[in-house]
């Protein structure tokens, strides 16, 4: 029997996957450090716990100051993009909706490009500009899409396309004007995971609000899946629920974009794999996508760091390279099960 609610076994499996991905992310790198030593270093940081890790101070600081924030950044970005994708897909009742659908990517791209192009020295401004740009892009699309007063979602998608094209054009214009900064702009666009506690702390509150609001609205998205009229007849404000989910998903997307640039694929593929393997209700897809996205991105980052070591691949390239074959495998494996 299919069920709209999350089954504990699925949750346990995905949590285990997250744990394994975390450990793999922490032990991978030039300096050889075992999982036991990683655990010891982390436990040693807890109050009232004092362990002999057997590591040099420089190794410990490498773990805490570089690897840990990087792995956590991967987990956060992956979880955010996947849950935002699931949220957008719920609102638009379309599994192909993407976290970047309503102009978040183009807005963030323009914001980051302007800052890199004209305020080149101020690295710390880039995530702020990307964050603000992403939210501004979505807000613009929402205002345009609902200005006609109609309740449906088609106008919203069209407005998203128009806003995205416009902002992308503006971004190209800035790039042309600042050709000498092209390399930095492109490296941002291709996506990278930062290893910086400060930036993580900056987006964490927004990320958390986005994720929590999406988790809380999962059941309401299920109600919304019967259509606006019927959802209204069941006592819902369809427009309000949709707005709440869109705001939360856009906050999540903006938070992810701010610390990682543009990373495609995750927001569509992770929810899709979850739907295939665990079931299609939003109360399954939203929580499992959050966790699955985190695991997916931590593992993808391991690939990005090791495939051409000592150099690194852009993470956005790897998500597509690694993700696409996994996606095809899951599609093939479940083709018979889902009629």
């Amino acid at each position: 029997m299919t069920s709209a609610r999350l089954r504990p076994v699925h949750l346990v499996v995905v949590l285990a996957l997250v744990a394994v991905s975390f450990v793999v992310g922490m032990v991978t790198g030039a300096a050889r450090i075992s999982p036991g030593q990683v655990a010891a270093v982390l436990l040693d940081r807890l109050p009232l716990v004092s362990l002999d890790t057997g590591l040099l101070p420089v190794q410990e600081s490498l773990l805490i100051e570089l690897r840990l924030p990087r792995v956590l950044c991967g987990a956060l970005v992956g979880g955010l993009l996947a849950v935002a994708g699931a949220g957008y897909q719920g609102v638009f009742r379309n599994p192909l909706a993407d976290p970047y659908l309503l102009g978040a990517a183009a807005g963030a791209g323009l914001g980051a490009t302007v800052v890199i192009g004209y305020f080149g020295g101020t690295e710390a401004l880039v995530p702020v500009a990307a964050f603000v740009g992403a939210l501004a892009g979505v807000a613009l699309a929402y205002l345009l899409g609902t200005a006609a007063g109609r309740r449906g979602t088609a106008n919203l998608v069209l407005a998203g396309v128009a806003v995205s094209s416009f902002l992308a054009a503006a971004q190209t214009f800035v790039q042309q004007a600042r050709v000498d900064e092209l390399r930095r702009i492109y490296s941002w666009i291709m996506g990278q995971l930062i290893a910086d506690w400060g930036q993580l702390a900056m987006v964490a509150p927004y990320a958390l609000v986005g994720i929590v609001v999406l988790l809380m609205h999962a059941r309401l998205l299920d109600v919304l899946s019967v259509g606006d009229d019927e959802a209204a007849a069941l006592g819902l404000h369809p427009v309000r629920v949709r707005l709440a989910v869109l705001v939360a998903a856009s906050l999540a997307t903006a938070s992810a974009v701010a610390v990682s640039g543009l990373i495609g694929f995750v927001g569509i593929v992770v929810p899709h794999i979850v739907r295939r393997l665990a079931g299609g209700g939003n109360r399954i897809v939203i929580p499992l996508s959050t966790l699955g996205g985190a695991a997916f991105m931590m593992l993808t980052d391991v690939a990005a760091r090791t495939l051409v070591s000592p150099a690194e691949l852009p993470i956005g390239v790897v998500t597509a390279f690694v993700g696409a074959p996994i996606f095809v495998l899951v599609l093939r494996a479940t083709r018979v099960v889902t009629p």
């Binding site: 029997m1 299919t2 069920s3 709209a4 609610r5 809380m216 609205h217 059941r219 309401l220 299920d222 109600v223 899946s225 019967v226 259509g227 009229d229 019927e230 209204a232 007849a233 069941l234 006592g235 819902l236 404000h237 739907r275 079931g279 299609g280 209700g281 009629p339």
Partner: protein, 259 residues
């Protein structure tokens, strides 16, 4: 006693006036069938009574105006089953019917044991227990129609609005669904307002008929009074003969030209 009543309802959609001052009312345990030619505004009237359309005029439930109610309050009093429901194909029947409990839950609350008990009970009464685990996408037209009614019943509202509950059904399933609705209003005292395009069916099951033409009421009353050959000829442009059953219900038959 009047449970639901509409007075002077005017509805404009996309600049077109669909309803131009319609009155309608139904009491506890009563079945009102809204009939009328295509495009008369039957579905619009039902959606207005369900509270999902902006309208002028007043609709009241148990004497309280619909306009002053929150959607949740409204949904606890009025259940609505549309003519063309959106059926999420991957959802199980049980979970779909459970959605009917939404008006009884807080905004972010989850369904509890009582909600599942109500759902199970409704499925049992509608003879759907065996389908509880089936995907919505795997149901036949008749099964889907019954599941839709089950979802409306899970709302435990006193008023049941059904838009063409029999359109997609064969004769046997039509009878099954209509008898089911008839039983529900008799046993539970539900107020039923349905649109029905089959005039004979409407005359057989409803207590009163409301004939809607071009967004206005042109006739209202017991089936035998509304279903007159002259009335039908005028508003449907159809040549019919109306015969009366032994139990006094009118039967509408088409008359072939030249016949």
């Amino acid at each position: 006693m009047t449970v639901i009543s509409a007075r002077g309802v005017v509805v404009t959609l996309d600049g077109n006036r669909i309803l131009t001052g319609v009155d309608a009312s139904a009491g506890a345990g009563e079945w009102l069938a809204v009939i009328g030619p295509n495009g008369a505004g039957k579905s619009t009237l039902l959606r207005t009574l369900a509270g999902v359309l902006r309208h002028e005029g007043e609709v009241t439930v148990d004497g309280a105006p619909l306009g002053g109610m929150s959607p949740r309050e409204r949904a606890r009093r009025i259940a609505y089953a549309p003519q063309q429901p959106v059926l999420p194909s991957e959802v199980a029947v049980f979970d779909y019917v459970l959605l009917g409990r939404t008006p009884h839950l807080g905004y972010l609350a989850r369904e509890g044991r009582h909600d599942r008990d109500v759902t199970r009970d409704v499925l049992r009464r509608l003879d759907l227990t065996g389908l509880a685990g089936r995907r919505m996408g795997a149901l036949s037209g008749g099964e889907a129609q019954r599941v839709l009614i089950a979802r409306a019943l899970a709302q435990e509202a006193a008023v049941l609005l059904l838009d063409e509950p029999t359109t997609a059904l064969d004769l046997g399933h039509q009878q099954q669904v209509l008898e089911l609705i008839d039983g529900l209003r008799r046993d539970d005292g539900l107020t039923v307002i349905s649109t029905l395009h089959d005039l004979t069916l409407a005359g057989q099951y409803a207590d009163r008929l409301l004939l809607l033409v071009d967004g206005r009421t042109v006739a209202e009353g017991p089936p035998a009074r509304v279903l007159e050959a002259a009335t039908i000829a005028r508003h449907y442009g159809a040549r019919v003969r109306v015969e009366t059953d032994p139990d006094g219900r009118p039967q509408v038959r088409l008359v072939r030209p030249g016949g």
